[in-house]
């Protein structure tokens, strides 16, 4: 089975994140960049599928040179090879533009299933599987907490408020995963050493047959007009419970007309 897993590099959600004042795109150069946390679950699921069905796991990343670190991480977890689409013309691309690039790259690769994370922590869009399904004309099985494949058919439990939807579609298909689907493995020392020798193919927009002026900030379908730090909340009240903590809390709620 040919398995492709989409991995995005994002600024660490635990560190200071901001937009670049110059062009109002996510400041990636100054950030601590990591693999989008939920993508590790997609990588793990890809490895589990390979163990069950055989085949190869290919990582696909669209992102700047620095995203090579995210690719290494996926390879050290056990993916076999990678495709890295890098092109300066892509800077500031919107989600529809990025999806066009990912779709073009996928069209140059054999795949039975594409796995990706359910959401990236920088944009928090949760739309990439839908965009790619639309562009490629393949089924979307998004938001999976469980995935099984049998006889060329994918079955997914799509996590919802208070339960799940049972989904089914024939392969090839795209599946996105939540962090409830599995427990990602840590790269072993052997895995880290092996990753250094695994093939990473770099592709440019020209390699994908994409006109550079169709992507990037200048032609993005949406643009940031301005941004500001959220005004810091005024310092709150903090009381220490000395038998009257609950009473003070309820007084506060009463003052807010809540009780």
């Amino acid at each position: 089975m040919d398995i492709v897993v989409l991995v995005k590099q994002v600024p660490d959600s635990g560190s200071e994140r901001t937009l670049d004042p110059a062009d109002k795109t996510v400041a990636r150069a100054s950030a601590d960049n990591v693999v989008n946390e939920i993508d590790e679950y997609a990588i793990e699921e890809a490895l589990v599928l390979k163990e069950a069905h055989g085949g190869e796991v290919t990582v696909l990343t669209v992102g700047p040179e620095s995203a090579a670190d995210a690719i290494r991480k996926a390879l050290s977890m056990g993916a076999d090879k990678a495709v890295h689409v890098v092109d300066d013309a892509m800077h500031g691309s919107c989600a529809p533009q990025t999806s066009a690039v990912l779709a073009a790259a996928l069209q140059q690769m054999p795949f039975d299933i594409v796995l990706c994370g359910a959401e990236s922590t920088d944009g928090q869009l949760s739309v990439m599987p839908a965009l790619l399904a639309e562009r490629l004309g393949i089924p979307q099985l998004s938001g999976a907490r469980k995935l099984t494949i049998e006889g060329g058919v994918a079955k997914v439990e799509r996590q919802t408020d208070g339960g799940y939807w049972a989904l089914e579609a024939p392969l090839p298909a795209i599946v996105s995963t939540w962090d409830t689907i599995n427990e990602p493995r840590y790269p072993s020392f052997k895995g880290i050493m092996a990753a250094k020798k695994k093939p990473v193919t770099k592709k440019s927009l020209a390699d994908l047959g994409i006109d550079p002026s169709s992507v990037g900030l200048a032609t993005a379908t949406s643009q940031v007009v301005d941004f500001a730090g959220r005004p810091p909340k005024g310092a709150g009240v903090k009381v220490t419970d000395e038998g009257d903590g609950a009473a003070k809390l309820v007084d506060y709620l009463a003052g807010q007309k809540i009780v």
Binding site: V127, Q140, G163, V224, V225, G236, V259
Partner: protein
């Protein structure tokens, strides 16, 4: 006046419209005259038309067929694309559920448009407000290509009634093969709760690892019930098996924005904040005075939740 299409989202469990639909209708009025789009099984539109009229829908496009609910996301995007082509609306506004965002994305590709997700406000010139990076940054954005598509984040707009004629117009549903790609075999509700839905509740009481056990979550439920609130949980509480995953608040759980959020035994990790930071008022109970949750709390009690919470529950009940 310009026409704005608003996709109707129905209550997943019961009858009627989700509150998010009323919010979307209200937000859409900044841009023009809202037309509600009902995509569902036959009979759906008739049941919700009065409420759509009450919240300002000038028209109701009725796209009903047995088939549309049998497939994931794509049929709704297809119906909207057909309407965008036919009616040339000024914009499309969709409630920001996981499904709503995916519909917006597919519609954007079909119509060659840009889209903005999780907007908290739409200005008359089309500029939308979004909250980025776990609530740390406020962003104003604009769609620059095609018919602007917005998804409106729950609880960020106050629904306001306005009279609308809600004139019905039938829309023929002709699904392509591509829209029939992913079959929805079953919709399973695992947790039926008499409490308000987490993302719609005006008060949320959440418990964390500090609650210490599944049994002890009854303290959180007790406080929630005294306030008519929904119950939430941190990931640590969920991972420890204290409370089911569907109630997780945070980056990989639900995003909530209630009038009041009470965090009990929660330290306030960035991933938790991501899901609750835009709550109007934040109250915290934690025995550690240095817990980061106090940095965002409007009111904090440093103390043991096992004493503070039952006392508070009792005193709130006494006031009612």
């Amino acid at each position: 006046m310009a026409e704005v299409l608003v996709l109707v989202e129905l209550n997943p469990t019961g009858e009627g419209l989700r509150k998010t639909t009323l919010e979307a209708l209200t937000a859409a009025r900044a841009l023009g005259e809202p037309s509600a789009v009902v995509v569902g099984a036959p009979g759906t539109a008739a049941a919700v038309r009065p409420q759509l009229a009450e919240y300002g829908a000038a028209r109701v496009y009725v796209a009903e067929s047995e088939e549309v609910e049998q497939f994931l996301v794509a049929p709704k995007a297809e119906v909207l694309a057909q309407l965008v082509a036919g009616k040339q609306p000024a914009a499309v506004v969709i409630p920001s559920s996981p499904e709503g965002k995916e519909i917006a994305g597919r519609l954007a590709i079909k119509t060659g448009s840009g889209f903005l997700t999780d907007v908290t406000e739409i200005a008359p010139d089309g500029t939308a407000t979004q909250v980025a990076f776990a609530g740390a940054t406020i962003v104003h954005s604009k769609v620059t290509t095609g018919t602007p598509i917005y998804t409106v984040r729950g609880n960020s707009v106050t629904p306001e009634p306005a009279p609308g004629a809600a004139e019905e117009e039938q829309v023929a549903v002709q699904l392509s093969d591509a829209a029939r790609a992913t079959r929805v075999l079953d919709r399973v509700v695992e947790q039926k709760s008499s409490r308000p839905e987490l993302t719609e509740a005006s008060i949320v009481v959440s418990g964390g690892r500090g609650v210490a056990s599944a049994e002890n979550f009854s303290l959180i439920e007790g406080l929630a019930d005294s306030l008519g609130a929904a119950v939430g949980a941190s990931r640590a509480a969920v991972d420890s098996g204290f409370y089911p995953h569907t109630f997780q608040v945070g980056q990989t759980g639900k995003t909530v924005s209630p009038q009041l959020y009470i965090a009990v035994g929660i330290s306030g990790a960035i991933q938790h904040r991501a899901g609750m930071q835009t709550s109007k008022t934040i109250v915290a109970v934690n025995k550690d005075p240095e817990a980061p949750i106090f940095e965002l709390a409007d009111f904090g009690v440093v103390g043991d939740l096992n004493t503070v919470v039952p006392q508070a529950t009792e005193s709130i009940a006494a006031r009612r």
